[in-house]
């Protein structure tokens, strides 16, 4: 509970700082606040605290919730630091953006901690609504507006669908409490109403996590939104949506009927194919990364398929590693494109190794991590998915994943090759000190996480 209080207070505090014209403080404040939140996560570890239990508390801060909260906090800090140079230190824009980000982070926490469909819905909305705004936050820019509108509008439709689903589930079970719901489901054979509701919820979530065929918004929005926001969406928003989805299918709607898992398998397959094949032919690196993030959604969906058996820690690991990698990648992309007036085509990366080796190496490492090549943590993440799926006997899906990740390596390499093709008269790209050290840190983290994966096993999740 403290986490949510901290985060909400933090949001308000930053607004206050804006009003008090102390905008410079907004960054340290936010970072400190998030750090505080993470520490409280650590302290609450293992308490399974259920706040306001007497008031039918609808959140449960078990290790699952705390783990995801902490990860979101960490990624949030990285994001803040990485973008501390984007908005003039004393502009109100900066504080606004930070506030919105903090608020949506609150939604993310709710999504990972809910025990009640009402909370689920609220969480989704709290997570999304600020992001609609963020996506459109480049006010003068038509592209950004379009992205914002598309995201918002389809998001609204999606949440309507999700709602309908919730309503039907309620109708079938007569309660919003996930514990009650799962008790109502006599192991797996849903009533028609239940099935129907579950499907609608699935669709709603599939939209949020951008799984085919509900992914259509993602490439446009990712491309149109300002790059920092894209980074945010592809890391925290996606992660939170998956946290919610996993909790839903892992604890509420469980055990799922076979058909559900099969359906998800098909969705994952379609996603893999579409995302990777289309990514190959992209000329805009930003859109390319967008598609890659869609294909990663397919991988994470693998965990949701196995939500009954698979331990959540692997999903957590995936969210973390992918988050770090894609945050790095998008930030590099941002730093590269922003100094050549927003050109995010592949050619914009030419000669990056000369123009700023650190950026090039960070990008390379993170791309390899996304491609799932050892010893980058991305490999283990994908490895976990694949083992789980093999355990579940989805050999074909695994083969497809393997093949498509080879295809994935293909378009990542196109980007890498661009970075390493020398060009003449290339000006250096300079990044601030914070960013430089952060890049270094993230790059190391990507590799270190690989070797520290053993710790995952001892954190009781």
């Amino acid at each position: 509970m403290k986490e949510i209080i901290i985060i909400s207070v933090l949001g308000i505090a930053i607004l206050a700082l804006d009003i008090l014209k102390l905008r410079k403080l907004s960054l340290p404040a936010a970072v400190i606040g998030l750090l505080a939140m993470i520490t409280s996560c650590v302290m609450d570890w293992g308490h399974n605290e259920t706040p306001f239990a007497e008031y039918g508390g609808m959140l449960k801060f078990d290790n699952y919730a705390l783990g995801f909260t902490a990860v979101f906090g960490i990624l949030g800090i990285f994001w803040l630091l990485m973008n501390s140079d984007q908005y003039a230190a004393n502009s109100s824009k900066r504080t606004d953006i930070f506030t919105l980000m903090i608020f949506s982070l609150c939604g993310a926490i709710v999504l990972s901690a809910y025990t009640n469909l009402v909370m689920l819905f609220l969480g989704v909305e709290i997570l999304s609504i600020p992001v609609y705004v963020l996506a459109a936050s480049d006010r003068k820019n038509v592209i950004s507006n379009e992205a914002g509108f598309k995201y918002f509008f389809m998001g609204a439709v999606a949440s309507a669908v999700l709602l309908f689903g919730i309503a039907l589930v309620y109708g079938a079970c007569g309660s919003f409490e996930i514990s009650e719901i799962s008790s109502k489901l006599n192991n797996g054979n849903y009533s028609a109403l239940m099935t129907f509701g579950a499907i609608l919820m699935l669709a709603g979530f599939a939209f949020k996590v951008s799984v085919a065929p509900f992914h259509m918004w993602a490439p446009d929005v990712y491309q149109g939104a300002p790059t920092p926001i894209t980074a945010y969406m592809s890391t925290i928003v996606k992660g939170a949506a998956f946290a919610g989805m996993f909790r839903l299918f892992g604890s509420a709607l469980m055990p799922m009927p076979e058909a559900f898992v099969t359906a998800m398998a098909y969705m994952a397959a379609i996603t893999l194919i579409v995302a990777n094949l289309v990514a190959i032919v992209q000329s805009s690196s930003k859109r390319l990364l967008a598609y890659s993030s869609i294909s990663h959604a397919a991988f994470m969906l693998g965990f949701v398929m196995m939500a009954q058996e698979a331990p959540a820690k692997y999903l957590l690991y995936y969210v973390l590693t992918y988050g770090v990698a894609s945050l790095t990648a998008f930030s590099v992309l941002h730093h590269v494109s922003s100094i050549q007036n927003g050109d995010d085509s592949l050619t914009a990366f030419k000669g990056l190794i000369k123009r700023n080796p650190l950026l090039a190496i960070a990008m390379t490492i993170s791309l390899f991590s996304m491609a799932g090549i050892p010893p980058m943590s991305g490999f283990l993440a994908k490895y976990y998915v694949i083992t789980e799926l093999l355990g579940g006997g989805y050999i074909y899906l695994v083969v497809l994943m393997v093949i498509t990740s080879a295809i994935g390596a293909w378009y990542y390499l196109r980007l890498i090759m661009a970075m390493f093709t020398p060009i003449e008269n290339a000006g250096r790209i300079v990044v601030g000190d914070i960013q430089r050290y952060l890049y270094l840190f993230l790059t190391l983290l990507i590799v270190v996480l690989f070797f520290l994966a053993g710790l995952l096993e001892i954190m009781g999740l």
């Binding site: 090549i373 050892p374 490999f379 083992t387 093999l390 390596a409 293909w410 390493f420």
Partner: protein, 483 residues
């Protein structure tokens, strides 16, 4: 512990070189190589009088529940492979003295990184770790080619190389995981047990996965098309690393993982694999015959030899596997020799079109002599390292299937055809304008070629030290499967 040292030395030297910058990169790399060699010799010594103190093995759990652990052990086969690596590293570094690559430190750093990962692959006794090292070795060499190649289509070539090999090894991952589903641990010993416990059909499928992976890398006939282009594009040092050592990881994988793990699978479904290997002997030789460029010729010839290698190993008897070990060593040495000859010629004549050469023997008899020795090694003349390996391979293959041995044996003839043709075209006959002023060998060129020749001859005359290192291990490996 020594094994860790073997991986640590190149690793740390790599980073040291990265940080220290271009000045003394070469020297550092050379030092690293020599240190590596010394440690290897030490390891062999330890292994010789029985490793009582457990110096050669190391085991530290990594991801317990998933049965992954940082487990290394230097048994006979690994020792030979490590010996290959650490013999070749200083040679390659020293050989690269006659070119100066820009950003020297990056170049040698990458080289050492690659060596580290290859050593890891050769020494690990954990399936997953093997896969990881196997994959990782791809990255440094990829960059070595991408950055230091001067071919104009290098982008496409390297892309093809990377994707193709990655694609292949992913199948190995699937197979590995499939076995892991049964064994629940990646410790190679457990993998053996699990693998053998599977029905032969299952084994067949798993084998298919492994074979595709290794066939792409070895490379075996239909999966080879990445290789000639890559060799052509790569800077010589990278080619040496690639052909001399890195591709051996695949054949080593065959010995270490496939043959002991999937006996029934190979017995029932392995024939096609062996047939493909045999075919690639003929096919590659045929292509070698029509090559005009020397480098392309040795690229193809190496495919031909490795075809024999793969077939021999897969025949799964002591002779075949021993021959495989020996042939890996000798082929590594010979390949490096051949490519170094290319380097020498290319630096002097700026091309490697054989028809434009001739008479070099007249200008530079020493060079011709050493080249001839290497050529003889690669046509597997007795008293050269090539013979022992190839003979044992054929012996093993024959016991599996006489017909295949006959096909693969054609390398004895065809190899002579293209190698001698190349030698005569380049070295013999009258001199011409281009070759008349063929500069004499520099000191280090002499040294490198000399060492290579010496190795070729010594290993050919007295291979017993190597063979007797690996023989016990091979026999224990095969005990489980020989029925």
């Amino acid at each position: 512990m020594l094994t860790l040292l073997l991986i640590a030395i190149p690793l740390f030297m790599a980073f040291a070189i990265f940080l220290m910058g271009a000045k003394s990169a070469r020297q550092l790399a050379l030092i690293a190589g020599i240190a590596q060699l010394l440690v290897t010799i030490g390891a062999i010594a330890v292994h010789h009088e029985g490793d009582s103190s457990g110096l050669l093995s190391f085991n530290q759990q990594w991801i317990g529940p998933l049965g992954m652990s940082f487990a290394f052990s230097l048994d006979g086969i690994s020792l030979v492979m490590v010996l290959l690596t650490s013999l070749m590293l200083p040679l390659i570094v020293y050989a690269s003295y006659n070119r100066d690559y820009k950003n020297t430190h990056i170049f040698y750093g990458l080289m050492l990184l690659m060596v580290a990962s290859m050593t890891g692959a050769f020494t690990t006794s954990d399936g997953m770790l093997f896969y990881i090292f196997y994959e990782f070795a791809l990255i440094p060499v990829y960059f070595m080619i991408l950055i230091w190649s001067d071919a104009e289509n290098k982008g496409k070539t390297t892309l093809k190389f990377f994707i193709y090999t990655l694609f292949g090894s992913l199948f190995m991952l699937i197979s590995l995981l499939y076995v892991y589903q049964i064994s629940g641990s990646f410790a190679i010993a457990d993998l053996y047990e699990a693998g053998r416990s599977m029905s032969s059909t299952e084994q067949g499928w798993v084998f298919a996965g492994f074979f595709i992976a290794f066939a792409v890398k070895i490379p075996v006939f239909p999966f080879h098309s990445w290789q000639p282009a890559t060799y052509a594009a790569a800077p010589t040092a990278a080619t040496m690393l690639l052909a001399g050592i890195m591709l051996k990881m695949a054949s080593y994988g065959l010995i270490r993982l496939v043959v002991p793990m999937l006996p029934d699978g190979i017995a029932e479904y392995g024939f096609w694999a062996l047939l493909l290997s045999a075919i690639s002997v003929i096919y590659a030789s045929a292509l070698a015959i029509v090559q005009k460029k020397y480098k392309a010729l040795i690229a193809w010839s190496s495919i031909a030899h490795l075809g024999v290698l793969a077939a021999g190993i897969l025949s799964g008897n002591a002779q075949g596997v021993q021959g495989g070990v020996m042939e890996m060593l000798s082929h590594g040495i010979l390949t490096i020799g051949l490519f170094f000859v290319y380097d020498i010629i290319e630096t002097r004549m700026k091309h490697d079109d054989m028809s434009k050469m001739g008479g070099i023997r007249d200008v530079n008899p020493l060079f011709a002599f050493m080249f001839f020795a290497i050529v003889m090694g690669s046509v597997a003349l007795p008293m050269t390292s090539g013979f022992v390996g190839e003979f044992l391979l054929l012996l093993g293959l024959y016991q599996y299937n006489a017909m295949l041995a006959g096909i693969a044996g054609l390398t004895v003839i065809l190899g002579a055809v293209y190698m001698l043709r190349a030698f005569q075209q380049m070295m013999l006959g009258p001199t011409n304008e281009l070759t008349k002023h063929f500069a004499p060998l520099t000191g280090h060129e002499k040294t490198v070629l000399g060492i290579v020749v010496a190795l070729v001859v010594i290993l050919g005359v007295y291979p017993d030290p190597i063979l007797s290192i690996s023989n016990p291990t091979v026999e224990t490996l095969l005990q489980g499967i020989l029925r």
